[in-house]
């Protein structure tokens, strides 16, 4: 039993402009491809990175980074 829902990162590909800020803030979860677009690692965001992930979502200049709750009941 975890106190908090686990969450996964997702990209709205139609909105992402490849600013790359997310990769700066979350290097352990996001790297950039040849053209500067994020490659999101599989699996839920680690507890240690949860706060930075929320920050990255809020700071994405294109508002293209999403945090999706994956917790089932």
């Amino acid at each position: 039993m975890r106190a908090k829902d686990s969450a996964e990162l997702a990209v709205d590909w139609g909105t992402c402009k490849g600013h790359g800020l997310c990769a700066e803030l979350l290097p352990d979860h996001i790297t950039l491809d040849d053209w500067g677009y994020p490659i999101v690692g599989a699996g839920p965001v680690s507890a240690a990175a949860a706060k930075r992930a929320r920050r990255a979502v809020a700071d994405c200049p294109a508002l293209a980074l999403k945090l999706k709750s994956t917790a089932g009941k």
Partner: protein, 433 residues
């Protein structure tokens, strides 16, 4: 079977197909007006002869899968749309998708040309079953069709309907053509007055579609199959095809240099007789431009099933590549088209597909032999980089085609590496516009 005992069982016994339809197959040999249509297929079962739930049950038993390319089970879509409609207390929308999009495919246009009322019947039946307020038939505004004005023909068919008898009013909507335009989210965007592009959404169109209502988007061939199942029953449907891939299917067949033809067949039939005219052949493209190449030896012995071909039948394209053509050139030609058809919304697709297309063109040109290893490496790298990273499956399908070409045309690739192309005829076989 959990049949609901409502005392109406005898009322829902399927008709048997009229002799004409039995002899000639699922499609007539010439276009039918509404009276001819009824004579050929039999009357559309009246609403009171097909109690609510019965059609969905038959569709589930028949095992109908979408014929637009993705092959999703229709029954599951119906359940999910009707569930969303109940939960949100909204009446759903039904869309018959006639936007074939793919330049090489003709089966949907062929069906709409010969038997538009079969599609309209299917729309009416699905509309009744789901108690939909809107039933839409979407077709390409400038649909290329060798036979004549398809839009006019379908419009005439819609005007022939008796709305009171149908109980469902059908709207005909002309939408701009294009490879991506027929993707369900893009189509719903067009129908909502939007830009007609795939969109990012937390909900599928099954939950939030046309006008925000739960929407069932279904390829026209699938919709026509519903009209046949309502008449002849699920067992009739399952008499065609295999247990895993039941039902009659339409295929667009290119056999050599001859014009493509649309054939009526089913899974499990041998592939070879369909393309024997094209012999000697080098490979066969299965499914569509988002499909896969298979080798000639496999094509000679395989039956038309996903298990034997190793690839899904997709949107039903079967294109034999004659031995005097170069498969790499053909793939490069298609890949360039796919890159140009990117909606340009998503970075990986916008950047990746043109690079993949350019690399395929280099591979198709034997003069680039010296750089062969680097080109193949780039193709593999970029393919992995665009896959699964877009709003729609355009990059995924494009990559599938390229990967199958790298496997099937290995001999040709080796020849190019040695500076030789074995294809004498460098003109593209399949259309790309």
């Amino acid at each position: 079977m959990t049949a609901i005992d409502n005392g109406a069982r005898e009322a829902v016994v399927p008709q048997s197909p009229p002799s004409q339809a039995r002899e000639n197959g699922v499609l007539p040999s010439r276009p039918l007006n509404v009276a001819e249509h009824r004579a050929y297929y039999g009357a559309l079962p009246a609403a009171d002869r097909l109690p609510l739930g019965e059609l969905a049950a038959r569709i589930g038993h028949a095992g109908v899968r979408g014929r637009g390319g993705a092959g999703f089970p229709l029954y599951r879509k119906i359940v999910s749309v009707s569930g969303a409609a109940r939960a949100r207390r909204l009446q759903p929308t039904i869309v018959a998708n006639g936007c074939e999009g793919e330049p090489a495919s003709h089966k949907d246009k062929h069906l709409l040309w010969l038997a538009p009322h079969l599609v309209l019947d299917g729309l009416v039946l699905l509309g009744r079953e789901l108690r939909a307020t809107r039933a839409i038939l979407a077709i390409e505004a400038d649909a290329p069709n060798g036979k004549g004005d398809l839009v006019r023909r379908v419009r005439e068919a819609v005007s022939e309907r008796d709305v009171r008898q149908d109980g469902v009013h059908i709207e005909l909507v002309e939408v701009p053509g294009g490879f991506i335009a027929g993707e369900s989210a893009a189509l719903v965007s067009t129908l909502n007055g939007g830009p007609g592009l795939p969109t990012y959404t937390e909900h599928s169109v099954r939950e939030h579609g046309v006008g925000g209502t739960p929407t069932l988007v279904q390829n026209v061939e699938t919709v026509a199959q519903v009209a046949l199942i309502a008449r002849y029953g699920a067992d009739w449907f399952r008499d065609y095809g295999t247990a895993a891939e039941p039902g009659p299917q339409l295929f667009t067949v290119y056999a050599g240099r001859r014009q493509p033809r649309v054939v009526h067949s089913a899974a499990g039939a041998p592939l070879w007789p369909l393309i024997a005219d094209a012999e000697p052949i080098d490979a066969v493209l299965i499914g569509g431009y988002h499909g896969s190449w298979i080798s000639a030896p496999l094509a000679r012995k395989a039956r038309l099933t996903e298990a034997e071909l190793g690839v899904p039948l997709g949107a039903g394209l079967i294109a034999a590549l004659p031995a005097d053509r170069c498969g790499l050139t053909e793939t490069a030609h298609i890949m360039r088209y796919l890159a140009l058809e990117s909606a340009g919304q998503c970075g990986p697709c916008l950047n990746g597909l043109p690079r993949i297309a350019a690399a395929m063109e280099q591979l198709a040109d034997p003069h680039h032999a010296a750089r062969y290893a680097g080109i193949v490496q780039n193709l593999q790298r970029w393919s992995g980089m665009v896959e699964g990273r877009g709003l729609c499956h355009h990059p995924d399908g494009s990559v599938r085609l390229v990967r199958s070409a790298l496997t099937v045309f290995r001999t040709e690739t080796a020849a190019h590496r040695a500076g030789v192309c074995t294809g004498g005829d460098r003109r593209p076989l399949l259309p790309a516009s």
